[in-house]
Amino acid sequence: MTYSLGDIAISLALVIGGAFVLVGSIGLIKLRNPMSRLHAPTKAGTLGVGSILIASVIYSFAYGEGSLHELLIMIFLFVTAPVSAHFIAKVHIHRDQTEQKLPKPPADTDWATKHTHARDNGQVGGQIGDQIGTDADTLS
């Protein structure tokens, strides 16, 4: 039982595409970080769908008149996948960065005015620094 080259190419593209789509969704389930979950299906999904569309193109050339319509879907997916991934990443950042997770502002010890005050009175600069620090704490 022999197979033609087109059959082998179509079958290979189909198997690769299905495996990539499956791996992308397994990553969507298994990974722990939201950003890692974003990484898995966006790349593997587009690659898998691209492979399946290539299989469809080869099939149409092998068993019909041949058509390149599927390249339209492929180009569209390749163009829009980074845009949607960017939007989803922005949603993750927007929802995950709460006020408590932001880093604390650094201590204000390097102010240019501190030294002039410190020359007059050693306590004043420290007081200003503490006051600014508490202001930043209440703001954050």
Partner: protein, 89 residues
């Protein structure tokens, strides 16, 4: 041989669709749900193309293209709604 490869592809994409649906249900945050919806729309495009391959017809191509476009638009609309509280400002 193409038949078995088609069966394999159908099984893989069906399982992938189910896993994405699980993530859609248990997703701890809104971003995960948007991502699961986006993945499901892309998987649907692949599934429709496979259906066209199995049926040997070109009719399913337009459906796949429309679902790809609507999936992208819905993902962007959902993300913008979460980000800005409005879709078209």
């Amino acid at each position: 041989m193409i038949t078995y490869a088609l069966y394999f592809g159908f099984a893989c994409i069906a399982i992938a669709q189910l896993l994405a649906m699980v993530r859609l249900i248990i997703g701890p945050d809104v971003g995960d749900r948007i991502l699961a919806l986006d993945t499901m729309s892309i998987n649907t495009v692949a599934l429709i193309v496979l259906l066209g391959l199995a049926g040997g017809s070109q009719i399913y191509f337009e459906a796949a293209l429309i679902i790809a476009m609507l999936g992208f638009v819905s993902t962007v609309a959902y993300a913008r709604f979460v980000l800005r509280g409005d879709i078209i400002e």
